[in-house]
């Protein structure tokens, strides 16, 4: 998944004198208040941070309130989706007009009907709503499916993404990964390794033969049972 990055930042944080008694707590609080908000300086949404104080000495600013400036070094996890990036998320709502997705558990995305390629047709199967591909019977998108979509625009205030499923590389991740061999445009290994990182706790070694998404799940399930 694109859009996630880790940044090293040199920060200077200015604290009010009342915070001088417990500096580390104040720093964490200040940084905490920036979480899940879009920050112009970082050009992204701050998701996580790890911070170290560089210098025990801090310069005091002269003024009505003598704020003091602390130099910090921080590792920041940032999320900054840009147009034409591919993102992955889980479908939470599906209707004829739109597909609603949640990315990384906090950002909402919508893909409206006009941004869904003609290949997908809306169907109701046993009261379950889904989008099924006309050309590939197995390619189905319904509530709970993880899909990959293209970013059209990103609302920085609400962290709301408008996405599209027009491009051929978009759709249900499960199906896409299984059929990646057919897709010559993609760099398979980099895609897979990115998937592996994203899939988190699934332990797969780099040197193994390429496995499909389902096998990933099966393997880790087996591991969990034996442990």
């Amino acid at each position: 998944m694109e859009g996630l990055s880790v940044a090293d930042a040199n920060l200077v944080m200015y604290l009010h004198p009342s915070k001088s008694r417990n500096v580390s707590q104040s720093i964490l609080r200040e940084l905490g208040s920036l979480l899940f908000k879009f920050n112009e300086t970082f050009d992204g949404v701050l998701l996580a941070y790890d911070v170290n104080i560089l210098d025990k000495q801090a310069k005091i600013l002269s003024g009505v309130h003598p704020y003091f400036g602390l130099r910090l070094k921080a590792n920041l996890l940032l999320f900054s989706p840009k147009p034409d990036m591919l993102l992955e998320g889980k479908v939470v709502k599906l209707s004829q007009e739109s597909i609603h997705v949640i990315v990384l558990g906090f950002s909402s995305a919508i893909i409206t009907a006009e941004n869904i390629r003609g290949e997908f047709k809306y169907r109701t199967k046993d009261t379950e709503e889904l989008f099924a591909s006309k050309s590939h019977k197995r390619h189905v998108i319904k509530v709970g499916t993880m899909i990959r979509f293209l970013v059209k625009s990103f609302d920085e205030e609400i962290l709301h993404i408008i996405g599209s499923l027009i491009s051929a590389h978009t759709g249900s991740i499960r199906w896409l990964d299984r059929h990646l061999e057919e897709d010559s445009e993609f760099d398979r290994s980099s895609m897979k390794s990115r998937d592996r990182e994203w899939l988190g706790d699934k332990t797969v070694d780099e040197g193994a033969t390429p496995m499909s998404y389902d096998n990933h799940i099966k393997m880790s399930k087996k591991r969990r049972i034996t442990e």
């Binding site: 939470v92 739109s98 949640i102 558990g105 909402s108 609400i158 709301h160």
Partner: protein, 616 residues
């Protein structure tokens, strides 16, 4: 008034039912799209349907419902600039005006709008929040069964909509929080909107998104309560009669001024009667009842401990009630927190002094606290005071040792209420009372500095219980406070600060009352022989009067509770009261600790010998 029904193409009366949902949706989409090309006809008709809200005929209701549902399906075609008249019509709609089906359709539309585009999210949440309160004409109907039914219907849909939006837009609760807090009616809104608004806020706290927004909402509610409390403080106190001692406050006197023997005593007492007409007091009362009921439901759901952490910063009777619901955890946590605040050198002085005053008042008044808890807290205070004495070898100096004196006063105050606890247990006597004796006899001389009424009562009880002997006799002549006590109390008068004095608000008092220790309940009956004061009025009538006063105190408390818990004490009143005391010595002799009445005429006229005391 006539509504022109939008003309769907090829529509005749009987063909309406033949349209499928998707056909209607596509027609609406067409109408919306046509605006971009300049053709506003069908669009304007659509807007017209939205605006029509009062006195709808059944087919108009059906039309509205259908239109709303169709719009819900067509949200992707709504443009924020071209269709702003439609949007403003939608956002002005109030669910209170409609029946359940239309309300459902409207809620669905709002949810769809909110999740379709970030631009609409705040507007939609705002629309839902504005539905917390009914339109003005409806406020009176709220009490009637029809009104209550509508209220339940609307609010359940509103909160369900919040949940749905939060499911699809995870960060929505944060935005909702800001909107809810901004939309809170101020206490100056004379209509009852704030009560129902707070009801909604508390519902949010206990609802499914409560985890995310709960603590901030609680704090906002509490802030409002505090605002109201302060408002009462300035409104209702005109002149207060401070010649009365602290321990007689509850033995209240007549409400009517005419019955008073002193013609120049023309004051309003901060009694329940004077608060009765006060609308702000009523508002506060209602809100407190809401809060208490909310706490009860928290307790039932087992969430009280979590909610308590938030409340720790808050309003005193809310705290009291919360502690009462869970004495072992919350009750002790509160007491420990206060004690911690007191002993920390790093805290500012006024904070430490108010903390110990809160602690003293709390330990005295909380019926639900175990004797062991009280004694352990007291022991902590006594030990701290003893340490302080040993570290400071100075003479009496009210200003320099303010924290110390407030600590001593707190101990004495608690012992006045809880003497029985310590007299019966010999171990406590040695653990607690021996160090206490050392403290009291130290050069710093707290007995001289602390509030005379407290000291007097404490010494009287101590003598009666033979706790220890005091070498000097302290004669205060019924003084409320002395120069020295005022000196340590400082500008904030923390020497007379007893926050948990009886609650004056009628409705919420019924919640508090069962767990509250009134002075009458623990007051020892003094024998004449122990009376240090020389005003020996000794006729047997007085004892009868005294006993009746004791027995009937609960009746009196019902009407005439008095409290000093207002922090905004006016210095002018004090001076006035002091001057009064010197002018009218007769008055002061009435108001001794324990309130012996010399003049039966001062007895409330309601109380007759044949009246039997009401049980609590």
């Amino acid at each position: 008034m006539g509504l022109e029904l939008p003309k769907y193409p090829e529509m005749e009366e009987d063909q309406v039912f033949n349209f499928t949902d998707s056909e209607i949706v596509s027609h609406v989409k067409q109408a919306l799209a046509s605006v971009l090309s300049g053709d506003n006809n069908s669009y304007n008709q659509l807007v017209g349907v939205m605006h029509h809200s009062k006195h709808l005929a059944p087919d108009e209701v059906a039309l509205l419902e259908t239109t709303l549902k169709a719009l819900a399906g067509a949200v992707s075609s709504i443009d924020i600039t071209y269709h702003d008249s439609l949007l403003s019509a939608i956002f002005c709609m109030s669910m209170w005006n409609y029946g359940p089906h239309v309300a459902d359709a409207l809620a669905e539309l709002i949810v769809s709008l909110a999740i379709s585009n970030g631009k609409y999210l705040d507007l939609c949440l705002g629309m839902l929040v504005s539905n917390f309160t009914p339109p003005p004409y409806f406020l009176d109907k709220l009490k009637m069964p029809h009104g209550l039914e509508r209220k339940g219907q609307v609010l359940s849909r509103v909160h369900a909509a919040f949940k749905k939006i939060a499911d699809y837009v995870p960060l929505a609760p944060l935005r909702l929080l800001t909107i809810v807090l901004q939309g809170m009616p101020t206490i100056y809104h004379k209509d009852r909107a704030i009560v129902i608004y707070v009801e909604n806020m508390l519902k949010l706290e206990s609802g499914e998104i409560g985890e995310l927004v709960g603590s901030t909402i609680l704090m906002a509610v509490v802030d409002r309560l505090i605002e109201l409390d302060v408002e009462i403080g300035w409104d209702a106190i005109l002149q207060d009669d401070f010649s009365k001692g602290i321990f007689e406050m509850e033995l209240e006197d007549v409400d009517d001024i005419e019955e008073s023997a002193e013609p120049d005593v023309g004051e309003f007492r901060l009694s329940r009667k004077s608060l009765a007409g006060n609308s702000i007091a009523e508002l506060l009362d209602n809100l407190l009842v809401l809060t208490f009921e909310h706490l009860e439901s928290c307790e039932r759901e087992g969430r009280l401990a979590k909610v308590f952490e938030t409340l720790l910063q808050s309003f005193q009777f809310v705290m009291f009630y919360a502690c009462a619901l869970d004495p072992e955890n919350c009750g002790m946590r509160f007491a420990t927190m206060l004690a911690d605040l007191f002993v920390q050198d790093s805290q500012p002085q006024p904070t430490r002094m108010s903390a110990v005053s809160y602690l003293a008042s709390y330990l005295s008044r909380a019926k639900f606290l175990a004797a062991s808890s009280i004694s352990s807290m007291l022991k902590r205070l006594v030990d701290w005071c003893l340490e302080y004495c040993e570290a400071h070898d100075g003479d009496i100096n009210p200003n320099a040792h303010r924290v110390f004196y407030s600590g001593c006063q707190a101990i004495m105050y608690v012992l006045c209420f809880r003497m029985k606890v310590f007299v019966d247990v010999p171990r406590l006597k040695s653990e607690l009372l021996i160090p206490l004796e050392q403290v009291l006899k130290h050069k710093l001389n707290p007995l001289k500095v602390c509030l005379p009424s407290v000291v007097e009562e404490f010494l009287r009880q101590a003598k009666a219980a033979s706790l220890f002997t005091v070498c000097k006799t302290f004669i205060f002549d019924g003084l409320l406070e002395s120069e020295l006590s005022r000196a340590f109390g400082g500008l904030e008068r923390l020497d007379t600060f007893f926050p948990f004095d009886p609650c004056l608000l009628k409705k919420c008092d019924s919640f508090i009352r069962p767990m509250f220790v009134f002075w009458s309940m623990v007051k020892p009956t003094h024998d004449d022989a122990f009376d240090d004061d020389d005003d020996d009025d000794g006729s047997s009538d007085d004892y009868l009067v005294q006993d009746f006063v004791n027995e009937n105190e609960d009746i009196m408390n019902d009407e005439f509770g008095k409290s000093f818990d207002e922090q905004g004490v006016d210095m002018d009143d004090f001076d006035y009261a002091l001057k009064k005391m010197s002018i009218t010595p007769k008055a002061t002799s009435n108001y001794k600790f324990g309130g012996r009445f010399q003049e039966p005429a001062r007895m409330p006229s309601r109380i007759r010998p044949s009246t039997s005391p009401e049980s609590l």
